[in-house]
Amino acid sequence: MVWLWQNLELVLGLTLDHARLSVVPVLVSLIASIPLGWLASQSRVLRAILLTLGGILFTIPSLALFISLPPILGTRILDEVNVVVALSIYGVAVMVRGSADAFASVSRDVIGSSTAVGYSRWGRFWAVELPLAGPVLLASIRVVSVTTVSLLSVGSLIGVTTLGYLFLDGYQRDFPTEVLIGIVFIVIIALVFDALLVLLGRLLLPWTRALPKASRATVTRAAAEVAS
């Protein structure tokens, strides 16, 4: 604890960097996966292609991806961009499946009815499909957010400033407290992000709180499957 007070400035600085670097990949995953997931929900073939692609991208170890990106992107190895791009790739890879399930969970009857009352394809997407896909989308983006915050610490191995620095420094100095503080602050960031997402969900999807138990179970089951 003494160490924490003495190095509070360092820890808080790293925490801010860590949070800042996590935000972009989470947003990119959410935004990119919505059209991709919608496409995947439209046909079995597209679904198989997109999900397989996502599965393959996710097999690349994070450290390996951090290292492989600079020659592809033409960036320098220490650039933050590498880590942000790498984590966005992972995020999208995980999120596409959740997003495809989210749009597939919208009942065909509802889509048929909304077409019958005169929605255009475009209007129906924004007013009917997207809001109804919301709960499952939220469940998947929560998984992505937690994973991103945790994976970002690996970035410190290639010299990007994140809370992972405390792991390396504490390890080299044989000082477990420093490592532990790194872990605790990462978990705190993950929890704060998660709470923000839940809050956002309550604001944007107010009706989910009044859902009957059965449909809530569908959402938790979908979340569990995304998580596995």
Partner: protein, 240 residues
Amino acid sequence: MNFFIDALNFILDPANLGGPKGILPRLGDHLFYSGLAMLFALIVGLPLGLAIGHTGRGRAFVIAISGAARALPTLGLLFFIVLFTGLGLWPLVAVLAILAVPPIIAGSYAGLESVNRQTIDAARAIGMTEWQLLWRVEVPLALPLIIGGVRSAALQVIATATIAGYVGLTGLGRFLIEGLAVRDYTLAIVGAILVAALALLVDGLLALTQLLVTPRGVSRGVTSTAPRTRAPLRRASATP
């Protein structure tokens, strides 16, 4: 892109296969760490997941724990444990197993939950005991999803076992770490390619297993008679 071509040449050069720092012994070590971690994760995760799925109790608890486990940075956890226990195989196996348990639990209970309630009632009605119900009805029907969970666990374990090189062990991660340390890009990318290839290979084998163990009735039901809104959900873990 030259780095990738050089890296492929390095991998294809037979001179780099054997020897203490060669590809094969490191590949063997990598598989050994990953296999051991998966073994322990299965011993812990499967019974828990099946118990939750069968009884329907403790689901919220497990979702919370899985989420929390996901937030734990594996590298930090490994360093933390090693600082207390000293270098060795077991800290690595422990953190890799911690990584693998949540997806295994999630896959097995989601699998059991996806089994049609009427099928379960019917099995009870013809006089099956709970034990028979679990092993002869629920597990066979849930097997694709259970293996789906094992697949994502194996994927994460193989990808993460690269950190073994940081705590005095070897494995394919050594190529990455040595390459980074001396700024030898080609060597680092050799490691990246090998780990990704291994992960894909193991994932492919498990996907094949998943196809082979799916009861014929299940695959037929999913493709033809299941309502469209539910089918993709259920197939989700079968094709990650």
